[in-house]
């Protein structure tokens, strides 16, 4: 009796109130969405970004705003000749002011390295002559660095471009040069404090204390800002040379913006400055955006949100900033493609916050996507794409926790519109109807590899489009290569080679079982998984057995780091690492994935120079495999499906696909061909093996021939089997491989251990 009453009450309370709870929160979610939309409609006015086309196809040394307000740049043309240009009133066309001396034309061992432009009209240039001396090799922990000796010369150029050499004597390398507003040249040399250069005598006068601590410097009017390697910013009065009291407001606002002041190269800086019209006004720019600050006051406002412009793109480096008299801003920067001169113009009509917000979600960091988002926002100022990353390097969140958070957001109706499906439980998502069919997006896209796209289809529908891919290849001498047809013949070949070449590395010696398995996993795993999702144990056992034959315990060298992060795994699984050793005749067999044009450039160079070596797609227990990467899906629960699909369409365009940060080859054929055609000759790469101090080898990249590119693309066009994306299975298989190749456990035991782990997840 009592029990019945209790059940009755619980059920009544639970069901009636439960229904209320079910509706309440999701309704609230939609409301808040509406709120932001209204806000966006309300406030207008935003700086919009545009690219200024540069004179010819040039690279830029520097930019300044002359006293009369003209924007001036110094640039190099494709012939290697430098000139100084002014931007005309129309803001579109360039007028050449003067050419630099003809004898400064770039050659193999002579470069014009720096040009600093003064607001007063004169300029300062540095040339560098490479000396024919024995190369000095400095070894650091991981890679071997080379420092070539060179001889610098320093010149002052007057307003007409007449050069006079400045007798500046220093053994140190020039890092940065910049003119102050009053025409004083400040220089930063290696291991030296920021100093002022005397144009006639070449004498250097220290401006700021602290020599090797200086990371970079900048100026705004009469204030010099020197940033050290800890990110502390010291300010000095340029005229008196006295240190100024710390500008707490500036330091705070920079710290709060979250910019990382430790990322700087010789060319670019994380933080650049310029003066404003008013006495105490100044502007600074980071990847977080462009800010206006009143000196020594707690007044800082964000004028341009970096995340809405290319400033926030991960490949953008900043060089110089200028505030034009008409209120526009000019930022000189460089991205992975070329130098960029960006102009920011205030538009009264543009909404302050873009009206359409697309939420994107990726489990892992994805640089290409970030870059594409910047591009897209620039072309579509009304759209903002917010990419959230589940697992970042410093967050300490596990993939599983990140996925759980994603689940809650989807269930609460706050889920992302666009999903990068790499590492996500795609099968479950499809089963639940979470993913939208993207067939129409593919229908509209052009030049995609049709074979790779159709491989992503399921029952006539495409729930995820791989934006990028990698392709597994094998390199060996032609005779051996011919014999290798599958996993078993690969193991046969490895054993034969071991016998006939006892003194040579057959496979890379730092491959332990797990790394070796990682190289072969992708071309074998598709064969193991049966239709119902369970594992074909015989084939997996065969995999382990052959793996043990390929592994060479005698030559195996343990690497210090055993932690295998995602990025590191990609690096280690690239073909590029071993190509250099095959090329140098130190490695017999090399297999792995081509991830980028740079991997291919090494392969092509080797083919051109070593006719006895050949390559082909790697066949394991499956053939014609490719690895789909950055798989884009659109949420069926999204309220902005069309906008999300449009974004995916953009991601498939040649423009977007050209982005290249090592995350895979573009699936757009034109973009891929463009990348491969653009590979330049001349870069030298080198590497050494840990177990052999004499193993340092290097290769100078050649331009790949049309035929080589054609052959490579031909192989891609044959691929039709996507590699598995089940990380759980992958981790289980790799973790057992370590003990299996050393004979500590039998292949049978390894298979048992794998199935024990995997069956659980399959059964769920």
């Amino acid at each position: 009796m009592k029990a019945k009453k209790m059940i009755g009450i619980i059920l009544a309370a639970a069901l009636s109130l439960g229904a209320l709870a079910g509706c309440g929160p999701s309704g609230g979610g939609r409301e808040s969405q509406k709120d932001t939309d209204e806000n966006a409609d309300g406030a207008k006015g935003r700086y919009l970004e545009s690219d200024i086309e540069l004179p010819e196809k040039t690279s830029i040394y520097g930019m300044t705003k002359l006293d009369n307000g003209t924007i001036r740049i110094a640039a190099n043309d494709q012939e290697g000749l430098a000139a100084v240009w002014d931007l005309k009133e129309d803001g579109e066309t360039w007028e050449k002011v003067y050419d630099m001396p003809k004898e400064w034309k770039q050659t193999d061992d002579f470069f014009l390295t720096h040009v600093a432009l003064s607001p007063k009209g004169d300029a300062f240039a540095v040339t560098s002559q490479t000396l024919e001396q024995p190369q000095e090799i400095q070894e650091s922990e991981e890679n071997v660095m080379m420092a070539k000796q060179s001889q610098e010369h320093f010149y002052h150029l007057d307003k007409e471009g007449n050069a006079t050499e400045v007798p500046l004597k220093t053994e140190e390398y020039v890092y940065r040069l910049q003119y102050s507003k009053e025409g004083e040249l400040l220089a930063q040399f290696q291991n030296m404090p920021v100093s002022s250069v005397h144009m006639e005598t070449g004498e250097l006068t220290d401006k700021a204390a602290g020599s090797d601590r200086t990371a970079f410097f900048g100026m705004a009017g009469n204030t010099l800002y020197v940033t050290d390697y800890d990110g502390n910013i010291e300010s000095l009065d340029l005229q008196t040379g006295d240190p100024l009291p710390k500008d707490e407001g500036l330091a705070d606002s920079i710290a709060q913006s979250g910019v990382d002041l430790n990322i700087n190269s010789l060319q670019t800086m994380p933080l650049i400055f310029t003066e404003g019209k008013e006495e105490q006004e100044m502007f600074y720019c980071t990847d977080k955006g462009l800010y206006r600050h009143v000196k020594d006051k707690n007044v800082t406002e964000l004028l341009i949100d970096g995340s809405l412009t290319s400033l926030g793109s991960p490949d953008m480096g900043l060089i110089a900033l200028a505030a034009a008299d008409n209120g526009e801003f000019y930022v000189l920067g460089v991205d992975s493609q070329s130098d960029k001169l960006l102009r920011y113009t205030y538009s009264k009509d543009a909404a302050t916050v873009p009206g359409t917000e697309l939420k994107a979600w990726s489990l892992y960091e994805n640089s290409e996507l970030l870059q594409n988002i910047s591009q897209y926002q620039k072309e579509n100022p009304e759209v903002v794409v917010n990419l959230e990353t589940g697992v970042t390097e410093d967050s300490g969140v596990t993939a599983s926790d990140a996925l759980k958070n994603l689940s809650t957001e989807i269930m609460a109706g706050n889920g992302p519109d666009l999903l990068v499906l790499d590492g996500l439980p795609v099968d479950s998502y499809i089963e639940k109807g979470l993913l939208e069919d993207l067939s129409d997006v593919i229908g509209d896209a052009e030049n995609l590899f049709p074979n790779l796209i159709s491989a992503a289809e399921r029952n006539g529908k495409t729930y995820g489009i791989p934006l990028r891919f990698a392709i597994p290849l094998i390199e060996a001498d032609a005779q051996t290569l011919e014999k290798i047809q599958d996993l078993k013949s690969l193991a046969d070949a490895a054993e034969d080679l071991k016998k006939s070449n006892p003194d040579k590395n057959i496979v890379l010696p730092y491959y332990d079982g797990a790394l070796l398995a990682a190289q072969l996993y992708d071309v074998c795993a598709p064969a193991w998984v049966k239709e119902d999702g369970t594992i074909e144990e015989k084939l997996l056992e065969e995999f382990y057995a052959q793996l043990a034959r390929i592994f060479d315990p005698e030559r195996y060298v343990e690497m210090e780091m055993q932690v295998i992060s995602e990025g590191y795994q990609r690096y280690i699984s690239s073909l590029g690492g071993g190509t250099l050793y095959v090329y140098s005749d130190k490695l017999m067999l090399n297999f792995g994935n081509i991830w980028s044009d740079s991997d291919f450039s090494q392969l092509a160079t080797m083919l051109a120079e070593k006719p006895e070596i050949s390559y082909k797609p790697l066949t394991g227990q499956t053939e014609r495999v490719f690895l789909p990467k950055t798989i884009a899906g659109v949420s069926a629960k999204s309220e902005r499906k069309e906008e999300a699909k449009n974004f995916v369409k953009f991601l498939l365009t040649e423009d977007a696909q050209t982005a290249s940060q090592g995350g895979g080859l573009p699936i757009n054929q034109k973009a891929l061909k463009g990348q491969l055609d653009q590979i330049d000759a001349g870069m030298t790469i080198g590497s050494g093996m840990a177990n052999d101090p004499d193993s340092y080898v290097e290769m100078t990249i050649q331009k790949p021939s049309k035929e080589a590119i054609q052959q490579f693309i031909g192989y891609i066009q044959e691929a039709d089997t996507p590699a598995l994306t089940n990380e759980m299975l992958r981790n289980a298989v790799l973790s057992q491989a370590v003990d299996c190749v050393t004979g500590k456990i039998t292949p049978e035991a390894a298979v048992q251990a794998v199935t024990d782990q995997v069956d659980l997840s399959l059964a769920e």
Binding site: A3, M6, L17, A21, S400, S407, I410, K432
Partner: protein, 286 residues
């Protein structure tokens, strides 16, 4: 008579006011969400369409659910009696000791204060393939193993649970023991009863009322053992210690909210029956 009733009414009213804030909060934050889960167990996960008992059928036929349910039952069935017996034994021992009682109690309570994450770290150090346990066995020329990846994993979980909750239960038993009137023993001894007879006929029956509270608290604490297992072995531990909470977590991760809701409702149902059973016993004793 009427006055008395009024008084009683007023007294009831005030008593209810004491409970009201807690009751409202409990309804809003526990009962209503639970109702929502129960509701969801009849719906499809993402679309929210009516699914009837389909989710329950899926869950019942799901081998992972069966395994997890079996493991959870096994864990409860083994560790609760084990903990109850061990802690009672310890309480009897301690009760018969005259000195250092406080010191020992403090010692046994200490594990409760150790952060869960530190316990997980200890697991890793102790039970790693080349960990302390393997090292110890090596001294006796016994083979070690990666303990968390063997059926021993289950026993590690049991041991960890017992270790952590021993002190807590010890105090519960001691309290129960101290409530037994010494006169009872004296009377029994006068009647010529031995130690064992005293234990069987006086101690145990008098501890019975405590037993039910202690079991309820032990079950409650047993659900907390999942934290250590999760931190030390992740989403997919060895199958012997794969508990319902692991499964719910993984279902949640994979967006299988429908299965999770059905599983959770079933789980709650079993607990409901258990509480009912305990409560009935309890009330009968009263």
């Amino acid at each position: 008579m009427r006055n008395n009733l009024m008084k009683k009414m007023r007294r009831g009213q005030t008593g209810f006011l004491f409970v009201l804030p807690s009751l409202l909060g409990m309804l809003a934050f526990i009962v209503v969400p639970f109702g929502d889960v129960a509701r969801r167990s009849f719906l499809e996960a993402v679309s929210g369409a009516w699914a009837g008992f389909a989710n329950y059928r899926t869950v019942f036929s799901n081998t992972a659910f069966r395994l997890a349910a079996k493991n959870t039952l096994r864990f409860e069935a083994i560790c609760i009696p084990l903990l109850l017996a061990l802690s009672l034994l310890l309480a009897l021992l301690l009760n018969s000791l005259n000195r250092h009682v406080r010191f020992f109690k403090s010692c046994f309570l200490a594990p409760m204060a150790i952060p869960v994450a530190s316990v997980a770290l200890l697991w890793k150090i102790l039970f790693h393939e080349r960990g302390a346990l393997s090292g110890l066995l090596h001294l006796f020329h016994l083979p070690g193993s990666d303990w968390m990846r063997t059926p021993w994993a289950f026993w590690i979980l049991v041991a960890s649970y017992v270790w952590k909750n021993l002190g807590y239960n010890l105090i519960l038993w001691l309290a129960g023991l101290s409530a037994i009137s010494p006169h009872l023993y004296e009377a029994a001894r006068v009647d010529g009863a031995g130690r064992w007879q005293c234990f069987w006929h006086i101690t145990l029956p008098n501890l019975l009322p405590s037993l039910f509270t202690i079991s309820a608290l032990s079950i409650l604490n047993s659900f907390k053992a999942f934290r250590e297992a999760y931190l030390a072995a992740g989403d997919y531990p060895h199958e012997s210690m794969y508990l319902l909470q692991h499964l719910f977590n993984n279902w949640y991760r994979d967006l299988s909210m429908d299965k999770m809701a059905a599983g959770a409702t079933l789980h709650a149902g079993v607990i409901f029956l258990l509480v009912l059973f305990l409560k009935q016993k309890w009330d009968r004793e009263e």
